[in-house]
Amino acid sequence: MANLNTNIGSLQLKNPVMTASGTFGYGIEFEDVVDLSAIGGIIVKGTTFQPRQGNDYPRMVETPSGMLNCVGLQNKGVQYFCETIYPKIRNIDTEMIVNVSGSSPEDYARCASCINDLEDIHAIELNISCPNVHDGGMAFGVTTEGAASVVRAVRKAYNKTLIVKLSPNVTDIVSIAKAVETEGADSVSLINTLMGTAIDIEKRRRMLSIGTGGLSGPCVKPVALRMVYQVAKAVSIPVIGLGGISSATDAIEFIMAGASAIEIGTANFVDPSITAKVAQGINEWLDAHNIASVRDIIGVAE
């Protein structure tokens, strides 16, 4: 049994496999079909200060090796999370991390501040990269100034581990990563979904309710892996890699590219028990190669 422990700032994970926000609910939705304690960390649904209804249906289109979605951050707001959801998930035997979204730096900070008070939540992931809402989200994540402004505001309101999730829909993701590192982020996670669209040729119109959506699944993996490699080389904070991971091999690729941990997203829809299998698969690979710790392969790819 190899040592699978990994660190994201001061946060220690029992293994590097986490779930990507919006693909695993609050974890409890999956408890019948996967051992939640076998997962390194669960990043729950995007949470905003105010409740959000999300976008209209249709919100998804299947694409070759993936899917587009435009859910639009449907959630019942941070107060509901703290009062109703948190008591149900605080004792799950893994790190529970809340994904936080907003429409202004102050809005993000208010939401983060509420979660700062929850003793069993040791980290948040800041979503500055949601492509599916008009009033914020990705708008902040696509400029260094926008990204920095959100992290600056949240850093003042939140004193535990702060992960910032980056958008791939930018010219230079490295500059954004450096900007959030400068503002005090403890880690960056990448990539969020790639903006795309799909057209129904019989109806002659775009298939998603808001026209565009975020692309995820195995089809985005090469792009994500390249960006993780570039960012990991450029920053000194830990990087969390995600984008199309659906096997232990995929996960190890991201770790070798420089990720200290990985997130599994869309693959949860195809195999709801994939997270535990990937964690086990990483362990088996390390054992087979006589490598004592997963930390020994972080960033080893030339």
Binding site: G22, T266, F269
Partner: protein
């Protein structure tokens, strides 16, 4: 209390091709007894060996035979995913996540008349429901509609468990027209209606039910990814706001929906 969900490698024990657009897969769990499942619940079937698709396919539970440890899925061959499922052969494995969602409200006494209305492949879950009712000693009445006679599926199975009335749009079997035009609706009074079929049909039946003050449940089939309430893709607008069809449905009381 929600029924426990399972991921099972089912084995196809028999395959029947119905007409040129439907396949009936009869499956078993070779390792264990099938878990309890309610009529109206569904399974997420993994589509293996398809280059064009990625996600599972939500397919309603057509029939469960606990004595044979069999579960049936009726699949309409529409796109690449369902066609891949249709290529499965006897002996092949089919990975299923089940049972998902909430079933139809079941009748509690036989003095109430319960009508089950199905259209096209939407008749599928009504067979299991009717069979369960029949086992409880309550004879169901089925009203089944399709475009043409060859698209009316499993009629012999339906006739085994209840009274069957039929409409076809071309008049090739039963009364010509839509289910909402069938004479049985005007001859008999029903105390509850359960519907599964194409959206325009369900809306028409829901209107009929409302006009006649009959409680009515419909089963929706919004496009979904996870089936577990995590991705929030399959939402339907209800009086409670956007809710997931996979976990809050697929069966809804029509009064919960925002249909006109």
């Amino acid at each position: 209390m929600a029924l426990k969900k399972h991921i099972i490698d089912l084995k196809v024990v028999a395959k029947e091709v119905l007409g040129n657009r439907f396949v009936l897969l009869k499956c078993t769990d070779p390792m264990a007894s099938l878990p309890p499942m309610m009529p109206g619940q569904f399974a997420q079937l993994r589509v293996d060996g398809s280059k064009e698709t990625y996600l599972r396919r939500p397919i309603s539970i057509n029939y469960v035979d606990m004595t044979k440890n069999e579960i049936w899925f009726l699949v309409q061959l529409v796109g690449p995913g369902s066609r891949a499922l249709g290529r499965l052969q006897q002996g092949d494995l089919l990975n299923a996540l089940l049972p998902l969602g909430n079933g139809f409200s079941m009748p509690v006494s036989s003095d109430k008349k319960h009508l089950l209305v199905g259209g096209g492949v939407g008749t599928a879950p009504l067979l299991y429901m009717g069979a369960q009712m029949s086992m409880m000693g309550i004879k169901p009445t089925f009203l089944l509609g399709a475009r043409t006679a060859d698209m009316l599926l499993q009629l012999e199975d339906f006739e085994r468990v209840g009274d069957v009335y039929v409409t076809t749009e071309d008049g090739s079997m039963g009364e010509k027209g839509f289910v909402t035009q069938h004479s049985i609706l005007f001859k008999q009074r029903f105390d509850r209606i359960s519907v599964c079929g194409p959206s325009p049909m369900m809306k028409a039946v829901a209107r009929f039910a409302r006009q006649n003050s009959v409680p009515c449940e419909v089963s929706l089939e919004n496009m979904m990814a996870c089936g577990l309430g995590a991705c929030l893709c399959c939402v339907e607008k209800t009086v409670r706001g956007n809710v997931c069809v996979c976990t809050e449905g697929p069966v809804f009381d029509v009064n919960e929906l925002t249909w006109e």
